[in-house]
Amino acid sequence: MSALAELGPASGAAEPAGPKPKRLTAGRLGLYAFLIIAALFFLLPFYVMVITSLKPMSEIRYGNLFGWPAAPTIAAWLKAWASACTGVTCNGIEVGFFNSMKILIPSVILSIAIGAVTGYALSFWRPRGANVLFAVLLLGAFMPYQVFLYPLVRVFSMIYLYSTLICIVIVHTIFGLPVMTLLFRNFYAGIPIDLFKAARVDGGAFWSIFLQLIIPMSTPILIVAVILQITGIWNDFLFGLVFAGRENMPMTVQLNNIVNTTTGEREYNVNMAATILTALVPLVVYFISGRWFVRGIAAGAVKG
C-alpha cells in the first residue's frame, strides 16, 4: 500500500518524467527516403524537359540526357514558338496557342453555364424526369467517346458546322456537361434546402432564385469548375483532332504533329520547348490555384 508513497514525487526524479525522448526511428528515415525519391521521380521529367529545351542539338546528340546544358540557349524556344514545322507548314506552335485560346474561352463559359443551370434545376427543383436525365448524364461521364464520335461528325457535317470553331465549342460543352452537372449538383446538395424554401416563400421564381441567391453562393464551385474546364479543355487532344478542323487545330494536336512528324532530323530541343509551351497554361493555372485544384479533384470524384 505504501509502495507508491515511498516512490513519491521526490524519488520520481530518476523515473520517466516529462516529454518522451524523441528518436529518429528507422521507420521515420524510411519515410523521408521514400518521399524524397518519389519527389525526384515526379520532378525528373520536368527537369529533363527544361534542360533539353535549353541545349543545342549538338549537345543533345552526345546523349547526356540528365546533364546540365553546357551552353544554354533559348533558340529552341524561339523556333518552337514561331517556326517549327508540322509537315509542310513551318509556323511554329504559336498558331496552336491562339487556336486553343479561341476554343478555350467560349467552351469554358458555355459548359459551366449549362452545367450550373442543370445542376441547380436538378438539385432544387427536381422536375419530372430529373432522375432519368441525371442517370444518363452520369452514364455519359464514363462512356468511351468512340461511341459518340462518328454520328456527331455526320450531324455536324449535315448542318455545315463540321470543322468549325462552333463545332468544337459545342463538342466540349456536350462532353463537359456530365462532370459540370455533377459538380454543381453535389455542391448544391450541400446548401440547406431551407434556404431555397425561404426564397420560394419570399416569392422567388426559378431564374431569380438562381441569379440572386444561388449564383452568389456558388463562387467556390465556380472557381473549381473554371479550373477543371481550363485544364481539361486545354489538354484535350481527341476532340480537337476530330472536330476542330485544320483552321482551329488546338495546341496539343499541333504539338503532336510537330514532334511526331519526322521529316529530317528530329529536333528534340525544339520538341521539348514546344511541349513545355503546351503544358504552360494548365501548369500556370495549377500553380496559381493550388488548393482549389485539389478541391476540384475531390469535388469531381466524390459522389453526391
Partner: protein
C-alpha cells in the same frame, strides 16, 4: 493505493499551454468524472493518462507503475470514445477480439473473454453484425465491450454518451453505473453533462482552463461549490447570484445589495474579509415561498415570468433589482404580476469573493 496518479502534469499544443502543473490522485475502484465546458482540458487530461498525447512535464502513474513513457497498450487501460471508434467492416466479434489477437492471446482465452463481455453487455445476439448495422446505443456497448475484454484495471471514458439521444443516454448511463458496481474497476469519465457527472461519480473534478477547480463528491460540489465558476456550472437552472458588499458590522456580517441588506449571521463562513465586494449564490430550489422561518432571509416580489417544466416550475422575480429564479412545485398556479413572498436559508447559500470568485 492510488490507482491513477497524475503528478505536476503539463501539456501544451505548440505554444498553447493546455494544462499546467496539474495533480490528480484517483483511488482504486473509484469513479472519477472530469467535468467542464469544452476546451477546459478534460479530454486532454484523459488522453494524457491513456498515453495518446505526449506530455511536456510531469508523470503519470497507473496501478503503482510509472507509465509516463509507456505505450498506451501497455498501461493497463481500456478506453471508450465519443465516436465509438469501432473498426469499420469488422463484425462485433472481430471488434472485440482484434486487440487480443494482435497481442497474441490464446484463442480459447479470447473466446472466453469475448463471451463474458458479450454476456455482460447483452451483445450476444449482435456478435455477427457490423458496426453499420447497429444502433448508436449498441455501438457504444460494443465499444465498452472492447475495453472490457482487455481485462484491465482502469477504464477511461471520453464523453461516451454525447453522440446518443437523450433517452438512450439515460439508459446507458445506468448501465455504466451498474458496470462499475459489478466490476469495481477504477473509472475515469470525461463529460460536459453535469447530470452524468452527478449521477455517476464518486468524486467530480470540475475543470476550467486546464485547472481542476474542485475535486469533491457530487454532494459537496453541489452544496459547497468551491468557487463561483463551479457554483454556476453545476445545477440547472443555474444558481442565482446576488452581487453586493460584504460588511462586518456590529450586528454581524451582512451583504449590502444597495436597497436591501441580507443578514449573513446564519451563513457558515469559511473565512472572512471585511468590506469587500461579494456574491451570494442561492440555488433556485433552495428558495421557498411563503412566510419566513427563523434565520432565513425573506423578501417580497412580483412574478415576472413563469416557466412550467413539468415536475416543477420556474418563477422569475427580483431581489433588489436582480432577477431571481425560484423553483416551485409544478402544479402551482401563478400569473405574471402576482405578488409573492419568498425566503431562503442562508446556511444552504454560498458566498463568494466577487474578485477572486473563491468561496468565503
Amino acid at each position: 493505493m492510488a490507482s491513477v496518479s497524475v503528478r505536476r502534469l503539463a501539456v501544451s499544443f505548440g505554444h498553447v499551454k493546455v494544462i499546467e502543473n496539474l495533480d490528480l490522485e484517483v483511488e482504486e475502484g473509484e469513479f472519477i468524472v472530469l467535468l467542464g465546458p469544452s476546451g477546459c482540458g478534460k479530454s486532454t487530461l484523459l488522453n494524457t493518462i491513456a498515453g495518446l498525447i505526449d506530455i511536456e512535464a510531469g508523470q503519470v502513474w497507473i496501478s503503482g507503475k510509472n507509465v509516463t513513457w509507456t505505450e498506451p497498450k501497455d498501461r493497463g487501460i481500456g478506453m471508450v470514445f465519443q465516436s465509438y471508434a469501432l473498426y469499420p467492416r469488422m463484425t462485433v466479434q472481430q471488434n472485440l477480439s482484434f486487440g487480443l489477437r494482435m497481442a497474441g492471446v490464446p484463442r480459447a482465452e479470447i473466446e472466453a473473454r469475448v463471451a463474458k463481455a458479450a454476456k455482460l453487455l447483452q451483445l450476444e445476439d449482435l456478435l455477427r453484425r457490423r458496426p453499420a448495422e447497429l444502433s448508436g446505443g449498441q455501438r457504444q456497448r460494443v465499444a465498452i465491450g472492447r475495453a472490457l475484454v482487455r481485462n484491465v484495471d482502469v477504464f477511461l471514458f471520453d464523453e461516451p454518451l454525447s453522440n446518443l439521444d437523450a433517452k438512450l443516454r439515460n439508459e446507458l448511463r445506468v448501465e455504466i453505473k451498474k458496470l462499475h458496481r459489478d466490476l469495481g474497476n477504477t473509472m475515469i469519465y470525461v463529460t460536459h453533462d453535469q447530470i452524468e457527472a452527478l449521477t455517476l461519480a464518486d468524486r467530480i473534478a470540475v475543470m476550467r482552463n486546464g485547472v481542476i477547480q474542485q475535486l469533491a463528491t457530487p454532494q459537496d460540489v453541489y452544496h459547497r461549490p468551491k468557487n463561483q465558476f463551479v457554483a454556476g456550472f453545476i445545477g440547472s437552472p443555474t444558481m442565482n447570484f446576488l452581487t453586493g458588499r460584504l460588511i462586518l458590522g456590529a450586528a454581524g456580517p451582512t451583504l449590502d445589495l444597495g436597497s436591501v441588506s441580507i443578514d449573513l449571521s446564519a451563513y457558515g463562513f469559511a473565512r472572512q474579509s471585511s468590506d469587500v465586494p461579494a456574491v451570494l449564490g442561492v440555488r433556485p430550489e433552495h428558495i421557498d415561498l411563503g412566510a419566513a422561518s427563523p434565520g432565513h432571509f425573506a423578501a417580497n416580489g412580483k412574478v415576472e415570468i413563469v416557466e412550467p417544466m413539468g415536475a416543477d416550475m420556474i418563477v422569475w422575480s427580483r431581489i433588489a433589482d436582480t432577477p431571481v429564479r425560484i423553483r416551485v412545485d409544478g402544479d402551482s398556479a401563478f400569473r405574471n404580476g402576482d405578488d409573492i413572498a419568498f425566503h431562503f436559508d442562508l446556511a444552504r447559500a454560498s458566498l463568494f469573493d466577487a474578485q477572486s470568485g473563491e468561496r468565503l
